[in-house]
């Protein structure tokens, strides 16, 4: 894995990605990191250092909720689930992101 291929995520982008990943259903932190990693064709790598603060922030804001449960290998794990508020957030954020990335691309294309 090439370091340059794993860019630092912009503030807020990680939260969008987490919410997006959670749309597939409740999952624990490790699974979220893995999902983002796989969905980005192994370009994006989420470090725990940013993942957990981001998860907690989302929880405080009420975009996701958390509950302890059993993992696939029968371990205790904290499962995160997207809330109604979270779904609303993702809709608006997706739009914002589309506009932002489009704008950045346009700038870079000139």
């Amino acid at each position: 894995m090439d370091q340059t291929a794993s860019p630092a995520l912009l503030q807020g982008t990680l939260e969008l990605l987490i919410l997006h990943a959670l749309q597939r259903g409740p999952m624990h932190g490790y699974a979220i990191a893995q999902t983002i990693h796989l969905l980005s064709d192994e370009v994006l790598k989420v470090e725990e250092g940013s993942l957990y603060p981001a998860l907690h922030r989302l929880e405080i804001n009420g975009a996701i909720s958390a509950k302890w449960g059993l993992s696939e290998n029968n371990r205790k794990a904290r499962y995160y689930r997207i809330t109604v508020k979270g779904r609303k957030t993702i809709a608006t954020q997706q739009e914002t992101w589309a506009r932002l990335s489009g704008a950045v691309n346009r700038v870079l294309a000139r």
């Binding site: 894995m1 624990h28 932190g29 490790y30 990191a33 893995q34 990693h37 790598k45 989420v46 470090e47 725990e48 250092g49 940013s50 957990y52 603060p53 907690h56 922030r57 405080i60 009420g62 993992s71 290998n73 371990r75 205790k76 794990a77 904290r78």
Partner: protein, 887 residues
């Protein structure tokens, strides 16, 4: 809120949860052999914790700690600011305590907003209000008024209590038993009196005040059921009232049943009334109903000789009003004005602190710029400044509350006796809340100053050396300075008006000579002196005995002294004019019975005719001396000397015509005040020989003419000496050692007491004005000093280019002078605009008095110019070289 609670609960589990979660993560990562690194677990935890941090509170706490540290580093600034604020906030808290406890707080009776003062006026005889009520109306209203739940009438008097210690003159209230239903306050011990106990001829019972019970009987609960000696009569104590029961005023020591019967008929206006409105009835509705009832009085009392005088013919109408209004009276206005005055002082203080803050913000511009450059947002910096101002004003508020506590005690002890409800004045939770609210407002006012002024920090390059300050910086300071000048002027003018009122009041000729004259009251117990003759003889012996005391030049006695009110008043009949109701153009005349030589002892000048002599008293001569007002009202076009007058008198029996005792007018004396020096209408007085009075041993409802059981002595001396009172006491004891001297005071003290309210307002307003002036002086000095210090380089250049130091001084003073002119203009505008509010406190002075306005403006200009000139001169004296090297 829910989130906050969730946060609180979550926070406790956070540490364990995070630990478990991270452990799981690592395990999973390790199991999958994935590359995702462990990372620095401590850092991860730290960051996650940051997310959960209770940010607002914790940040605020951190800011406060930080602010405290920084304030400690500049103790001079901190102490100056905290003390200024503490003084101003303390003054506000103290005056607010008075306003809150005296004006705003309800009276200490259940549902006290339903209590009304059952007062009457008579428009046709120019008595707008204050006549009180008569027994006939009490029963009449009780029978017919549907708006009133219960009614009580009462009369204040005095009595001598003896046995168990020294005899003592106490103030008593005789009242109907219904007072308990009206006020709804039961005795703390024992019981209140029953209707049977108030019937004439029943054994006398009394309810004691808590104060008298403690003072005289040591709080002995065994006193209930025992007898005390009152005016020589055995009186059973049946109850003790609670400590805060003070009806109608705190000076009352005993409540006795008033002998009120329907047999009296209408009676005279000798009582005061209090009533409780029925639920849901307003005082206006009650007044309307009572006025309707009053129209029918002549029909309801067809044979009563006073029926016409109590009905529409005299324009008698109900002036019922909420009891609280009667009790606090005109004091509310004065207290609000005082609160406004200390409010202005607080504003001036805040302006001063704001100015200090501005200076501080200026010197810290560099620090703020660095903070900003290092990533502190404007919000964080503003928060820091707010934390400082909050800390300052909270400490100021706390210290102010302590100051207020002692100030309130001082105020209460210094307050004039005329200020009602003083016994209720104390600091309470509302005052504390008010104080902290004030502190908060103060914090916001000066905390936001540097923000409003724009730019806490500048861009980095701007912090270098500058030759001149920018215009914007001085603008804010000039506004502060102008506002201080304006506010100080408002207070100066109001205190000036008060001082002038005081002078005017003191300049009034009271109509008697108050110099070195002692007065006191003596009551003779009826048991020892059962007849009028016996009492008069005893008084005469006392008088003669006092006359032998060295230094005493004149001694006499009277039933009523100036400032004691009308004491006993009634309408006047003129012989030959019996048919005509003379009262229609005349308020009631105050009847006073005097010993011989009274006018000499009092120093009341005789205008015409002769005075009442000792021989008149000895021979019971039917003569009278009247005051000038009496002449003006009763004999506007004729010679009063030789005319015979009498009082309106009910017939002894129904159907008979009343028997008038005619008094021949032999002299005219100067008017003397009845209640206060500032009387709007002077009361007509009629003086008669002491021996001409009605039977003093008659029941209250029968006698007419003043009561002589208690007499006021007037002892004129060459000079009041230390031993005088004890010599007088010895003279007394020679006659009867069981007599009590009451209300001992000099005529000068009596005179001073009537202006005590005005003096109190004057002193407080003058203190407020002086503080505002001082703070303003300091403020102007500080602003000009600062501006000058910022302009040192500019001044240096000017001096180097040849400007004379004097012209530099003049320039600086001139620039500040413009600001001050604007301030004075604003202050004068406010003063003229709000002057009418002050009117009720003033005497003989217009709120726009040009002398006061000009004088105070002049004083302020002098002070302001000095405050500008001092720093300006210092600046102009620096050597140009030094100035250019400054900064």
């Amino acid at each position: 809120m829910r989130r906050l609670i969730r946060k609180l609960i979550r926070r406790r589990h956070l540490e364990q949860d995070l630990e478990a979660e991270l452990a799981f993560h690592e395990e999973m990562a390790a199991a999958s052999g994935n590359e995702i690194r462990l990372g620095n677990r401590a850092r991860v935890k730290e960051e996650a914790r940051d997310v959960w941090r209770w940010s607002a509170v914790e940040n605020a706490w951190r800011d406060l700690i930080h602010a405290a540290r920084r304030l400690c580093r500049t103790p001079g600034f901190t102490i100056a600011a905290v003390l200024t604020l503490a003084l101003a906030i303390g003054a506000n808290a103290a005056i607010f305590t008075m306003v809150h406890r005296v004006v705003l707080n309800p009276l200490p009776y259940p549902d006290s907003d339903r209590l009304i003062d059952l007062d009457h006026g008579a428009t046709r005889i120019n008595v707008p209000a204050g006549m009180g009520i008569k027994t006939g109306l009490y029963f009449y209203y009780q029978d017919r008024a549907r708006t009133l739940d219960s009614i009580a009438i009462f009369a204040i008097g005095s009595a001598t209590v003896s046995g168990r210690g020294e005899p003592e003159q106490i103030r008593i209230t005789r009242t109907t038993p219904t007072l308990a239903q009206v006020l709804r306050v039961p005795p703390a011990l024992g019981r209140w009196f029953t209707p049977e106990e108030s019937e004439p001829g029943s054994p006398q019972v009394a309810v004691l005040s808590h104060g008298l019970w403690l003072r005289r009987y040591g709080g002995d609960s065994g006193l209930i059921g025992n007898t005390v000696t009152l005016n020589g009569m055995a009186t059973e104590v049946i109850g003790i009232m609670p400590p805060d029961y003070a009806f109608p005023d705190p000076g009352i020591d005993m409540w006795l049943p008033a002998s009120v019967t329907r047999a009296t008929g209408l009676g005279l206006w000798v009582y005061r009334g209090v009533a409780r409105l029925r639920e849901g009835v307003t005082v206006d509705q009650a007044r309307a109903e009572l006025n309707t009832l009053l129209r029918d009085v002549p029909q309801a009392f067809p044979n009563d000789p006073l029926a016409r005088a109590t009905g529409p013919e005299f324009g008698v109408l109900s002036t019922a009003r909420i009891l609280k209004e009667t009790i606090i009276g005109g004091v509310a206005g004065a207290l609000w004005i005082l609160l406004a005055a200390v409010g202005i002082v607080l504003l001036v203080a805040c302006l001063n602190v704001a100015n200090l803050f501005l200076v501080r913000a200026e010197t810290r511009r560099q620090e703020m710029t660095v903070r900003h450059a290092l990533g502190a947002g404007a919000g964080a910096i503003a928060r820091l400044l707010f934390a400082e101002s909050a800390l300052l004003s909270l400490s100021g508020g706390l210290l102010g509350l302590i100051l207020a506590w002692s100030a309130v005690r001082l105020l209460v002890s210094a307050s004039p006796a005329t200020l009602p409800r003083l016994e209720e004045v104390r600091l309470d939770g509302v005052v504390a809340a008010f104080t902290f609210l004030l502190s908060g407002l103060a914090a916001c006012s000066f905390g936001s100053m540097p923000l409003l002024r724009g730019g806490l920090f500048t861009e980095f390059h701007d912090t270098g050396r500058r030759m001149t300050a920018t215009r914007g910086q001085h603008y804010a300071r000039h506004v502060l300075m102008g506002a201080q000048v304006a506010l100080a002027l408002v207070l100066l003018v109001s205190s000036g008006l008060m001082v002038k009122s005081f002078q005017k009041l003191r300049a009034i000729d009271p109509g008697f000579n108050p110099a070195s004259t002692l007065t006191f009251a003596v009551g003779l117990p009826p048991r020892d002196y059962p007849t009028k003759e016996a009492a008069l003889a005893a008084h005469r012996r006392i008088l003669d005995s006092i006359a032998t005391v060295p230094g005493v030049s004149h001694v006499s006695s009277t039933t009523c002294l100036p400032f004691d009110g009308p004491c006993f008043s009634n309408g006047i009949m003129v012989e030959g004019r019996e048919g005509a109701v003379v009262e229609t153009n005349l308020g009631n005349t105050s009847f006073r019975a005097v010993e011989g030589g009274y006018f000499q002892a009092m120093g009341i000048p005789l205008i015409r005719g002769r005075a009442i002599e000792r021989s008149d008293v000895e021979r019971s001569e039917p003569v009278a001396v009247v005051n000038q007002r009496f002449v003006d009202l009763v004999f506007p076009n004729g010679d009063p000397i030789g005319q015979r007058v009498s009082w309106t008198l009910p017939a002894a029996k129904e159907g008979e015509s009343p028997k008038y005792t005619w008094l021949t007018i032999v002299g005219i004396v100067r008017n003397t005040p009845t209640r206060t020096l500032r009387e709007t209408s002077v009361v007509p007085h009629l003086y008669m020989p002491l021996s001409m009075t009605g039977r003093f041993d008659a029941p209250t409802w029968e006698y007419i003419g003043p009561r002589i059981a208690t007499l006021n002595y007037v002892v004129r001396t060459s000079a009041i000496s230390e031993g005088l009172l004890s010599s007088i006491r010895r003279a007394f004891n020679a006659v009867n050692s069981n007599l009590a001297l009451a209300q001992v005071s000099t005529l000068e003290e009596r005179l001073a007491r009537t202006s005590a309210g005005l003096t109190f307002n004057m002193v407080l307003l003058t203190i407020a004005a002086a503080v505002a002036l001082l703070l303003g002086l300091v403020g102007i000095y500080a602003v000009v000093s600062y501006i000058v210090s910022q302009r040192t380089s500019e001044i240096g250049v000017r001096l180097a280019l040849g400007a004379a130091p004097r012209s530099v001084t003049a320039m600086i003073v001139g620039q500040s002078g413009l600001v001050m002119l604007a301030g004075i203009g604003a202050g004068l505008a406010v003063t003229l605009g709000t002057g009418r509010l002050m009117e009720s406190l003033l005497y003989g002075v217009s709120p726009r008095d040009p002398v006061v306005l000009a004088g105070m403006t002049f004083l302020l200009v002098i002070v302001a110019v000095v405050a500008c000139w001092l720093p300006a001169r210092r600046a102009a004296r620096v050597s140009p070289v030094q100035a250019l090297h400054a900064n």
